[in-house]
């Protein structure tokens, strides 16, 4: 026990007989060296720490740059997606409108078919002897009949006959004009017929 305790005791086995002033100078110099070493270590640690932070910031910058790039890609993808989505929606709208249009076309077709039938009926219908037609046209569901007649009475008979056909709800005489051609007198008339 005593031996182990003795091991911990450190004997002093050296002397220094330098004058006190020299010893103090050495002590001061050692102290200065110590502080210098501490300062250098501190600077090194700071520089090291700065370097680590600088590296860390650089790494983060790279990460942010990469993230930004990814974000750009995602944005672009999103734009493409939105465009496609819009296109799909447009397509649907177009399809719907096309369907509508086709139904209108179909209805128009059917309507045209009906009109043609009516035209044919009108054309087939026996006209008075002094009446002849110039043109048949349709406008906004109305029939326009342009024709010529030698007399007013002929026009009147023709209107009565058309009414008798019961194709049109109303028949108006929208215009009548007297014309002379090669010494012969006749009247040009316009009839508006509504279904």
């Amino acid at each position: 026990m005593a031996k182990s305790l003795l091991k911990n005791k450190k004997n002093k086995t050296r002397i220094n007989l330098l004058p006190l002033s020299d010893k103090q100078n050495i002590a001061k110099r050692n102290k200065a060296i110590f502080y210098l070493i501490v300062l250098i270590c501190y600077i090194f640690i700071l520089a090291g720490y700065d370097y680590l932070i600088y590296n860390d910031i650089n790494n983060k910058r790279v990460v942010i740059f990469n993230l930004n790039q990814k974000l750009e890609i995602i944005k672009n993808n999103n734009i493409i997606y939105t465009t496609i989505h819009k296109a799909v929606l447009n397509k649907e709208k177009i399809e719907t409108s096309l369907k509508n249009d086709s139904s209108i076309v179909n209805s128009l077709k059917s309507l045209k078919t009906k009109e043609y039938k009516k035209f044919i009926e009108i054309i087939k219908f026996p006209m008075p002897k002094d009446i002849w037609l110039n043109s048949l046209s349709s406008n906004n569901g109305n029939f326009l009949i342009n024709g010529n007649s030698i007399s007013f009475s002929g026009i009147s008979v023709y209107i009565k006959n058309l009414k008798k056909m019961k194709i049109f709800k109303k028949i108006y005489l929208s215009g009548i004009e007297k014309k002379i051609k090669k010494g012969n007198n006749y009247y040009t008339f316009n009839l508006e017929c509504k279904f």
Partner: protein, 379 residues
């Protein structure tokens, strides 16, 4: 992380410098040198702290020249103050916190030093020692020196454009080298003897505390002895004198061991002579031995079966120094009674009456570097 240290010891007429790098737990010796001061300096060196400026300037110039030529590092330079100018005081204190301990030691130093505290520099070493109560005492050795000597040394090195990191003592260098090599296994009561080129230092350590030290100057074993037997007898006699003086009036445990370092530390014959004369076992404390032990440790680490050892500090030579030291290694020379120098015989045996020290042999130089290297070890 590595740190380069340079230790200089101005030892009478020699300048010993060793540079090592501490890398983790390994000390790599980069460079070392042993240079003799020129004659003008020598006259002042033995007393350099009190010498005139001329003597100091010469030493400064010499240091500057050596540092320039051999390119030693000036970063962390340690040196020692001549032992003559250091007073040591041993005392014991109870375990107290560090700031209070410093004050208590200052108080003790004030009491013991013959000089006012304002005129001295001091520092201390201590070891913890358990007492009978199960607590700890601090066995303190305080070192004091006059401030002017310390300042002179600082100025001396400042002249060579070297800013000293610390001033210690050769005793502390040897003490730390011993602690580094043996740690707590050195023993309870032992003696360290450092045989130098022209001096001998004897330190007695008891319970890890430097209890006694003695410098024997101007003994120049190399020049003044005729053979290793004679050198051993002189060293043995000095040890005996020291031990007798140390034990006078005391009844403490006998000295268990002698640790031998310095110029003859690698000589087995010298160890035997000293051991026979003093009846104490002698062990070597040498950088060369440390290098060998480190090599052994390296070998051990490669052996998977013996890999349980804790990682011990290693001592190595730098590759450059390793090449240099082995390239320049000279054959050992025999110095006979006549003083003539001849090459050793081809059978490589050292004659019993020879002194195998060669001042040009890098291994031998390295052997006298231990006190300086001790200043670096453990830093």
């Amino acid at each position: 992380m590595s740190k380069t240290f340079t230790a200089i010891i101005i030892d009478y007429n020699y300048i010993k410098i060793i540079e090592a790098v501490k890398k983790n737990k390994t000390y790599i010796i980069n460079n070392f040198s042993l240079d003799r001061l020129n004659q003008n300096s020598i006259n002042n060196t033995t007393n350099y702290a009190n010498s005139k400026n001329i003597g100091q300037d010469l030493i400064t110039e010499e240091i500057k020249k050596i540092f320039g030529l051999k390119q030693f590092s000036k970063k962390n330079v340690f040196t020692v103050l001549n032992d003559d100018y250091i007073n040591t005081y041993n005392f014991s204190l109870p375990e107290i916190p560090e700031p209070d301990l410093s004050k208590a030691i200052e108080y003790e130093v004030k009491k013991k030093s013959p000089f006012p505290i304002s005129q001295i520099v001091y520092d201390y070493i201590y070891v913890y020692q358990p007492n009978e109560d199960g607590r700890y005492n601090l066995l303190i050795t305080a070192y004091t020196a006059k401030k002017e000597y310390s300042e002179q040394l600082v100025n001396l090195f400042a002249g060579a454009e070297i800013k000293l990191k610390s001033i210690e003592s050769k005793t502390i260098g040897l003490y730390n080298a011993n602690l580094f090599i043996y740690g707590n296994k050195a023993g309870l009561h032992y003696l360290i003897i450092d045989v130098n080129l022209i001096s001998i230092k004897i330190i007695i350590i008891y319970k890890n505390t430097i209890i006694f030290e003695r410098n024997i100057e101007e003994i120049n074993i190399i020049q003044n002895t005729k053979n290793i037997n004679e050198a051993g007898e002189i060293i043995g006699a000095e040890i005996q004198k020291t031990v007798d003086f140390y034990y006078a009036g005391k009844s403490i445990e006998p000295i268990e061991k002698i640790y031998l370092s310095g110029v003859y530390s690698s000589s087995g014959m010298l160890k035997n002579i000293i051991s026979n004369l003093t009846n104490i076992s002698v062990e070597t404390m040498s950088i060369i031995e440390l290098l060998n032990n480190s090599t052994d440790d390296n070998d051990k680490k490669t052996d998977k079966n013996k890999n349980n050892d804790k990682a011990k500090p290693l001592i190595k030579l730098s590759s450059k120094l390793n090449k240099k030291i082995y390239k320049k290694k000279l054959p050992a020379k025999n110095i006979y009674n006549t003083g003539d120098v001849i090459d050793i015989e081809t059978d490589n045996q050292i004659l019993s009456n020879s002194i195998p020290y060669d001042e040009n042999n890098l291994f031998d130089i390295l052997d006298v570097m231990l006190p300086a290297f001790g200043l670096i070890l453990g830093k």
